[in-house]
Amino acid sequence: MKESKKMLLHYITGLGIVIAGGVHLFTVFLAGPYVQNLAFSGGAFSVIAVYRNLVLALTLELLLVFVDYHALNGLRIILIEFHQSTRWERGVSWILVVTGILLLIYGTRTVLIANALT
């Protein structure tokens, strides 16, 4: 992928995080008492209630995808500005891609299973 395309994706995911992250922070801090929202169940925006709401669960999954790309691409930018060589750049990219995929799998598992919990 061209570097310019990676950076365009960086800005797009950044904007996506502002929106999806805004919804996420709203459901945790502003929609009712904070302690109730972080309890397993009991409130309209408690943890399980949020995951079982399809729209909110989808928002969390999108947020996961956006942050995963944005954070690891950010690390890549920092690391390849530290030092320039093809080997270094390839090594850094591979490690970050694998890390990103593992995080995505684990996070998606959480969303899917939490959505299915009764």
Binding site: M7, Y11, G14, L15, I17, V18, F29, Y34, L38, A39, F40, S41, V47, I48, Y51, L64, V67, D68, A71, L72, G74, L75, I78, E81, F82, H83, Q84, S85, W88, L103, Y106, G107, R109, T110, I113, A114, A116, L117, T118
Partner: protein, 158 residues
């Protein structure tokens, strides 16, 4: 010519993240990187933390709800600690700074707020860092501080 990895890393860590004696744009840059790293650290921890909503690392099929609830309640109790709360106050600051300063960077990336090229004159302030950009930078610091105060109030009820 590329230098050795270790000397490059040393120079980067000593130089790039230490904006003292440089101009404001350099401060904005260093803070953007530092806040990005801080929020990335939080993201990693948060994926592990929220993984406990369904029962933790070894749960790969739908568990008994009571098991998930026990694990999450224990996690929440563990995290309900002033040290973690202070961490979240710092993360709140970093997150909001990174967001608003990131919007400034996005605007400049697509050619907005760039100003005109002019002759560099004493005291050689960066022409690229225009007034609107400075305002956005200070706005990000202001909102980040406000968020930290809000978080302090949520967690400690100051």
């Amino acid at each position: 010519m590329a230098e050795s990895l270790t000397s490059d890393l040393k120079r980067a860590l000593l130089g790039w993240f230490y904006p003292v004696k440089y101009n404001l744009e350099r401060w904005a840059y260093a803070l953007q990187r530092i806040s990005g790293l801080a929020v990335t650290g939080y993201f990693l921890a948060h994926i592990v933390e929220t993984g406990n909503v369904v029962g933790g690392l070894d749960v790969w099929s739908i568990p008994a709800t009571s098991h998930a609830q026990d694990v999450w309640t224990a996690t929440f109790r563990f995290l309900d600690n002033p040290m973690f709360d202070i961490g979240l106050v710092v993360i709140g600051f970093m997150l909001v700074y990174h967001t608003i300063n990131g919007i400034r960077l996005t605007l400049t990336e697509f050619g907005f707020l760039q100003g005109r090229p002019t002759r560099p004159d004493f005291p050689y302030e960066p022409k690229s860092f225009t007034k609107v950009q400075r305002a956005l930078f200070w706005l990000s610091v202001l909102f980040a501080t406000a968020t930290a105060v809000y978080a302090l109030n949520v967690f400690f009820g100051v």
